[in-house]
């Protein structure tokens, strides 16, 4: 009935026993208590549940947790380096790139994937990078400005 799932989330390995129909977002939120990842639609159209799976951004409501077996997952909780915020987080703060904050987790994960794949995206590529994430509050432009500032090197990651 239940199946074994091994996955690493934010650097921490986990061994779980789950029902095969369990979604990745359910494992993260309900089993591991990582509620930074949100669910906005359950139909992979809003992007609130975006996480990074083996380096790729994935809508965690659209895959079964078992499909992520042996994978490495990064959620918003793993983005900061301890007390030191990630450059994207700092830029989001300075630009007011969020309001209600419910889409922010997915938005930051999409932005990180974009910059990991292409550290120097054009303005159009930044827009494309977050086009799968709905934000009902900000109108996106402050998010685009925040990402642009990170691309310009305004925020250095402290190692």
């Amino acid at each position: 009935m239940k199946k074994e799932l091994n996955l690493t989330v934010n650097g921490q390995p986990y061994e779980l026993y789950i029902k095969p129909k369990t979604l990745l977002v359910e494992v993260l939120r309900d089993h591991l208590g990582l509620t930074g990842t949100k669910r906005g639609c359950n139909s992979s159209s809003c992007g609130a549940c975006t996480v990074i799976l083996n380096g790729m951004s994935v809508k965690s409501c659209s895959i079964l947790a078992l499909q992520a077996d042996s994978a490495e997952v990064l959620t918003l909780e793993g983005l900061a380096n301890g007390a030191e915020l990630h450059p994207l987080q700092k830029a989001f703060l300075d630009h007011g790139a969020f309001q209600c904050g419910f889409c922010t987790s997915g938005m930051l994960m999409s932005a990180k994937t974009l910059l990991d794949e292409n550290p120097k995206p054009t303005a159009e590529q930044i827009k494309e990078g977050i086009d799968g994430n709905i934000c009902r509050c900000t109108g996106y432009n402050s998010i685009i400005r925040a990402i642009t500032d990170v691309v310009k090197g305004e925020y250095k990651e402290e190692k």
Binding site: T35, G40, N42, A48, E77, D94, Q99
Partner: protein, 757 residues
């Protein structure tokens, strides 16, 4: 140097760190020990009598803990217009009759969501379907089925506004236009759907955590419905994932979770699915407008007559307010000497329509700003010029309705005109449309019948100089926690990081009516400023005595330094004075109190914001598709408290109002909403977002804290009208029903081509 040290500066939001790290815990994220999960069974019929509900099979399902129907409630009807019992028409858990597809009939609490869902399938409801009516124009006919007893011809509310001598004025007009417009519905699409965790304990006390725009309203409405004492209900608003008007009425998640929890003395959590959010929560009111507008040859607008029929849906909600405000704002932002409005809100067997950002004004602004461009063209007058000629000015009285103090409409028109001229010639099939608007800074009306001040706040200064600010204001993303903290810090002369805000918890915060009608900055801001001033006075009394200064000197606090206003070097550290003052008061903390209720400010609002927006569109004449290219807005909202916040409100409003203009819609068939998912409901995404620019306009509102007024909803008003005008400029077709879809544009282009042949 700015005379302010906190307000007007670019700051990080006070709720920022928790939101960018995933640490913000929304109601959606809450788990309590021993908590159950609830689901709601909803009517599949638009109109039906409930003959029987059999829950016996569902109760046998392992894991089901309780099932409730209307019989388990006090059988009361509720509504937010509490002063008018006939407008309290919604049971939430229907007993005898359902009136729209989505009306709740039963709720289940079970050990997990899957079990609760399974139980819903096992509940047998026997319905007797009744004839249904979906179109308000049909619903007012005599042969139409009646939804509510006592509501003849399904008329729910009527509104009449009139001043001047309209009929005589039309006789004096050189030119009169009569036009029809239709404004569509719109879904709020909050990223966090409606949800609640209710926990009733053996002491008879109920605690409800919920995503809401007004903890006080929910507390009071639950009081009415559950028969508890008001103070035995504590409503706590955790971080809330958006509201936009959808979250200040009592909803099915809050009510059903409470009823279930009271039955079990266990916490119950209900989260509405995205489909329920689209089909079974309230939405923007569709409106059918007939407008007669008369002018002199020189463009002076002499008279306007407006008739509106709104699709009310099954219940009243805040729809009565939308009906009034659309009538009032149909006169905005112009000085009509003669004006008449008749509005009718009609019940239909569709999802109820109610408040949504702009509250009737996006509709009236689309209509009014389309028509003013049409009449300007008839008369051969420039669109900016006709607006300038008739636009409101400071200290203008809307006869019998409202008194406008600050008004920067003309500065906005001037600035925007300059900007458009600078842009020069546009490419083919591009057009710029303008739209002028105004909006209120909080409502004066008290249909809720609250005995409390509209806004209140308490400021407590602790021994280390840190300030706790308590307010019933509700942060829903719009930034009120930050703006109010800034007001508090400025008034008290401390820094933003010295403030910690506790908001939206009825157990510890004084009452505020909540985040709707763009009221928090002005109304709660005034209460916070008064509370901070009260606390400051207590410190200054002590400091003055200690300083032994000549009585003619004033003291003030700025950036944590208490000093003589005229001799800033003579003073003390704020922190030292706080310590000594508290010791000197036998250890009593310093506590300041503030409240605000508008008095003698007319019938609508104590202050109004104004603005003008220019939208540049590109129309694809092959497909009819409209693309937003640039949106430039001159908005005046008095003193800007939180500039980052205003930018966010403006750009966010363009996403929402632009969507209303050309892509968001809720088509229906037989009362069923056909696109209840984010995949099918088209929202503006990042690639569709135009370039945005804000032109700063300097005004000062005497009624607002530090001269501030609203900057939230007003910005939602102009965009649809500006898009309509821009499309006309670009390709010469006038679309009078929203949204301006490719189909409509293409059809109009074809018709135009035929006529030209």
């Amino acid at each position: 140097m700015s005379k302010y040290s906190v307000i007007g500066t670019r700051v990080r939001r006070v709720d920022g760190p928790e939101k960018v790290t995933g640490n913000a815990k929304y109601t959606f994220d809450m788990v309590l020990p021993n908590m159950l999960y609830g689901k709601i069974l909803r009517s599949p019929h638009p109109h039906a009598r409930i003959l029987n509900i059999d829950t016996s099979q569902a109760e046998k399902l392992i894991g089901v803990k309780a099932i409730v129907t209307g019989k388990d409630t006090l059988g009361r009807k509720q509504g937010i217009w509490r002063r008018f019992s006939e407008l309290c028409d919604e049971e939430i858990l229907c007993r005898a009759k359902v009136r729209y597809i989505g009306d709740p009939v039963a709720a289940v609490a079970a050990v997990d969501e899957d079990t609760a869902e399974e139980a819903l399938d096992l509940i047998e409801v026997e319905y007797e379907p009744l004839p249904a009516v979906f179109d308000p124009m049909e619903a007012i006919k005599e042969e139409a089925p009646q939804l509510h007893e006592g509501a003849e011809l399904n008329i729910n509310v009527t509104r009449h506004i009139e001043w001047g001598d309209v009929d005589e004025a039309f006789r004096q007009c050189d030119h009169i236009r009569e036009d029809q417009f239709k404004c569509s519905s719109q879904a709020h699409v909050c990223m966090e759907t409606h949800d609640a965790v209710a926990s009733f304990d053996y002491n008879g006390k109920l605690t409800v955590w919920t995503s809401t725009q007004s903890s006080y309203y929910i507390q009071r409405l639950l009081t009415d419905m559950l028969g508890l004492r008001e103070s035995d209900i504590r409503v706590i608003k955790p971080p809330t994932g958006g509201g936009f008007g959808s979250k200040f009425e009592l909803d099915s998640a809050q009510f059903c979770a409470s009823v279930l929890s009271m039955k079990l003395c266990q916490p119950v959590k209900i989260v509405l699915s995205r489909e329920e959010e689209f089909t079974a929560t309230k939405r923007r009111t569709p409106m059918y407008y007939s407008v007669k507008l008369g002018a002199k040859k020189d463009g002076t607008l002499l008279a306007k007559e407006v008739r509106v029929i709104t699709e009310g849906g099954a219940y009243t909600g805040m729809g009565a307010t939308a009906l009034y405000l659309t009538g009032f704002f149909s006169s905005f932002p112009y000085k009509y000497p003669n004006y008449r409005y008749d509005g009718y809100r009609v019940y239909t067997n569709t999802a109820p329509t109610s408040a949504m950002r702009g509250f009737g004004a996006p509709q009236s602004t689309f209509v009014g700003e389309s028509q003013i461009d049409m009449i300007a063209e008839d008369l051969g007058i420039d669109p900016i010029e006709i607006r300038r000629k008739n636009g409101m000015t400071p200290n203008y009285e809307v006869p019998g309705q409202a008194y406008i103090q600050s008004c920067g409409l003309h500065q906005c028109l001037d600035k925007l005109e300059e900007q458009i001229k600078e842009q020069g010639k546009l490419p083919a099939n591009h057009g710029i449309g303008v739209s002028a608007y105004g909006f209120m800074s909080g409502g004066i009306f008290n249909w809720f019948d609250t005995p409390y001040a509209f806004s209140s706040a308490i400021v407590k200064i602790n021994i280390d100089g840190k300030v706790d600010l308590f307010t019933g204001a509700c942060e829903i993303g719009q930034g009120s926690d930050t703006t109010l903290s800034m007001i508090c810090a400025e008034e008290l002369g401390v820094r933003l990081e010295d403030i910690r805000i506790y908001a939206g918890d009825t157990g510890i915060c004084p009452v505020d009516l909540g985040a709707w009608g763009s009221r928090e900055t002005l109304m709660n801001g005034n209460a916070v400023k008064m509370a901070a001033a009260d606390a400051k006075r207590q410190l200054l009394e002590f400091a003055a005595a200690k300083l032994g200064a000549n009585i003619v000197y004033d003291l003030e606090i700025k950036d944590q330094w208490i000093h003589l206003t005229d001799r800033p070097e003579r003073g003390f550290s704020y922190f030292d004075i706080v310590k000594e003052a508290i010791r000197g008061r036998d250890g009593e903390v310093i506590m300041g109190r503030g409240h605000y209720t508008p008095h003698r400010k007319g019938m609508i609002s104590p202050a109004y914001s104004f603005g003008v927006q220019a939208v540049e569109v590109e129309v694809d004449t092959e497909t009819g598709r409209v693309k937003l290219v640039n949106v430039t807005t001159a908005h005046e909202s008095g003193t800007v408290i939180n500039p980052v916040g205003i930018e966010g409100q403006l750009e966010g409003a363009i996403m929402m109002a632009g969507g209303y203009g050309f892509c968001e819609d809720q088509p229906m068939d037989g009362g069923k909403i056909l696109n209840p998912s984010i995949a099918d409901y088209k929202l503006i995404r990042s690639l569709d977002m135009p370039k945005t620019k804000i032109l700063p306009i300097d005004t000062y509102e005497p009624e607002g804290p530090f001269g501030a007024k609203e900057a939230g909803e007003g910005l939602t008003n102009p965009t649809a009208g500006a898009i309509g005008n821009a499309v006309y400029k670009a390709v010469g077709v006038r679309i009078t029903d929203l949204p301006i879809t490719p189909e409509k544009v293409l059809r109009a282009l074809k018709k135009k081509q035929k006529q030209n042949k």
